[in-house]
Symmetry: C2
Subunit: 480 residues, 2 copies
Amino acid sequence: MAESPITPRGADFAQWYQDVVLQGDMAEPAEIVKGCMVIKPNGYAVWEVLQRELDGRFKATGHQNAYFPLLIPQSFLQKEAEHVEGFSPELAVVTVAGGKELEEPYVIRPTSETIIGHFFAKWIQSWRDLPMLMNQWANVIRWELRTRMFLRTTEFLWQEGHTAHSTHEEAMEEVLRMLDVYADVAENIMAMPVIRGQKTRAEKFAGAVKTYSIEAMMQNGLALQAGTSHDLGQNFGKAFDVKFQNKEGQLDYVWQTSWGVSTRLIGGLIMTHSDDKGLVLPPKLAPLKSVLVPIYRKEEERAAVLEAAHRIAKETGSKVDEREGHSPGAKFFHWERRGVPVVLELGPRDLASGKIVVKRRDTGAKEPVSQDGIAATLDATLEAIQTNLFASARERLKANTVWAASIGEVEEILKDASAEKGGGKFVMAHIKDDPECDARIKQFKATIRNMPLVDECDGPGKCIVTGETVPQRALIAKAY
Amino acid sequence: MAESPITPRGADFAQWYQDVVLQGDMAEPAEIVKGCMVIKPNGYAVWEVLQRELDGRFKATGHQNAYFPLLIPQSFLQKEAEHVEGFSPELAVVTVAGGKELEEPYVIRPTSETIIGHFFAKWIQSWRDLPMLMNQWANVIRWELRTRMFLRTTEFLWQEGHTAHSTHEEAMEEVLRMLDVYADVAENIMAMPVIRGQKTRAEKFAGAVKTYSIEAMMQNGLALQAGTSHDLGQNFGKAFDVKFQNKEGQLDYVWQTSWGVSTRLIGGLIMTHSDDKGLVLPPKLAPLKSVLVPIYRKEEERAAVLEAAHRIAKETGSKVDEREGHSPGAKFFHWERRGVPVVLELGPRDLASGKIVVKRRDTGAKEPVSQDGIAATLDATLEAIQTNLFASARERLKANTVWAASIGEVEEILKDASAEKGGGKFVMAHIKDDPECDARIKQFKATIRNMPLVDECDGPGKCIVTGETVPQRALIAKAY
């Protein structure tokens, strides 16, 4: 048997990840454009499903899509002090256009709060114009030093929601509503359990008052920030002079939010479910849910097998893999590496017995089932796979979440974890939202990921750094 | 009565166009980013319908979506001589990134033949890898001097198909197949008749062997190039060394195609159907097909009218305009300017008679119809509007297409046409595909638009410039 093209997770997790992406034909590095990748059709099709699921939920919650320019006058970023400080080191700058040096350079958007703020100021006059609920599907560029396909690339695809409200209370409802939308898609479509929580002040978005995130646990125990939702307060309202007349006739600055998820989600998906054989896709996210591999040795078996194959494929919405010059075994490996949830096998013996073999990608289990009612059987199998993937991931999250009562204990627990070797834990500890506490945790090459919204822990306790009483535990982990 | 916010077509066509875009809340100029616009929700929703219609057809013809980097190493554009010459003046160049001057600048893609050629060379080895059929939905930048919302903006959204084939014949089939897809969407979804044809050598895409286009006639008689499909021959194959082993075991360069349509289509849509009252959307392209305006004067009528309104809205998929503080008249203007194909009016008298008033956007006709079977009536009305819009546009195209037998006649016919005043004609004349003939026509501020594929004319004839015999008439017009 040929050596697997995929490095086992246990040997080298980072290499495994890259192998899964390449062997699943999801993406490849675009070495000629620093830190970029090409998203290949198999990867892009997953992104399309994610887009559809997210976009439907955005519209159902009253948002409309729009499109703002890619290029932002450099001076715009200066208008919000924290924002420019956070993004300046990562900007790509256009200095020449149409054959001429530009008087004012443009930056390629790293995010669009500034340019959208500019237009909100033109569009919003009165409380009647509020709330303004917009979303944009776009590419952005952040010049990152260390990149990894899907997880961190200099250019990435994302959606960015931008809303303006007449009260802080209403804005906060929006911030949490969209965080819930992200958690819903992560858990119920991607089968990836997440922990919703508030970022510490040190870790919040540059320009936000508060940032909320969803954090997922990868198979090596590392955390991945999978989505963020920001309470921007009146910061951008003041920076871009977005004022409205309230019901009392007074002028006030709007309260804004922004929220985004990106192609990074696909990286999280891969590191949540895939195995040493390659990609594993939850059925609800799989562009192709099942493939039927017809098996025949003799030419005289061919017509009968293919006829039944097409009948069943039509009934079940499966694709028949009729490629010539590939053995059934090669076909199985092909679809396995691409994460197709179910492969159906149909040979002459199955024809005789009225059966068909159903093979699950998640467990590897093979079972002959009756061809009668195969559509319903397949649906039930897909449902079972979706449920199993989520349950397994949740179980892993639970099993690798530990409590710590002292900073020494946190250090001890985090010591053995690394991106390459696994062994990472989510450590729940009482710790103060204070940049000095964040800095202390960073000494262990870890971060406070967030302060969970649903505290399933033991309520208030003493901060493991300062000794002060804090209301709840926070989530500490090494992260991507 | 207040003055209309829309300049009549007859007074100033260019101003009318801008007024329709602004009053329809489709887009607005982004004056702070040269030549760019913001696509507002009403405009973006139309783009989403267009995307869905196009994307479904691309997939049905075997194409897959992928995503390639926005930034292209500047040296890539140099590799194809005509390509660099055509695009160099329009490039936006990134010279600084991550706080440092770049060793090699990147250009923002004006189109992606070069970077995709680079990857095709990596992915294609054998005839078994062909055809490779890809599409990308993306933003591109071309630094244009004179811009106009949707029609020509420095940044625009588009799709670009890129395919590689093992024979020229197969590539040519692809070129014409995708041209037909464009014509299908233009005519059957946008209700915009188009003339399919081949561009002259002088007007082809920089780097192509042949370019085909669909050309539409705007209401002022000017032509709009609404989509192009290119036979790239082996030009990019040679420039990027995209070789494959053919069935005979020999190495050969692939034959490539590319094809694209953009947000420009929305400009064509507006100038085909809209009128002095504002935007007119063909039902198949309208994100919102019908709106129901409830009418009541007294508070005691309100509940009964709204109840019936919601019942009918549910049955028909209409939106009920329940906004407070707006008169029914203001609501009618609101939806009229936004191009909603049908407005339903429902008042207390309609309740008593079991009727509802159906108002068509295209003809302005108002008719009371029975509430029974309103869903079917509405469907039939939408169908009639779609048919009527296409028929009107085709009639206009026919009425304004004339034959010319001499260059003097061409000049005479084109003399009175201008973008602002209208009066443009499509002139069909025998003319040679020779850059000198193109140059002659340019003296009249017009161009040879294309050499129609279906020549409904009189076969061969003598070129009006050179006197040589040419196989068919070509389409000459002033154009956007």
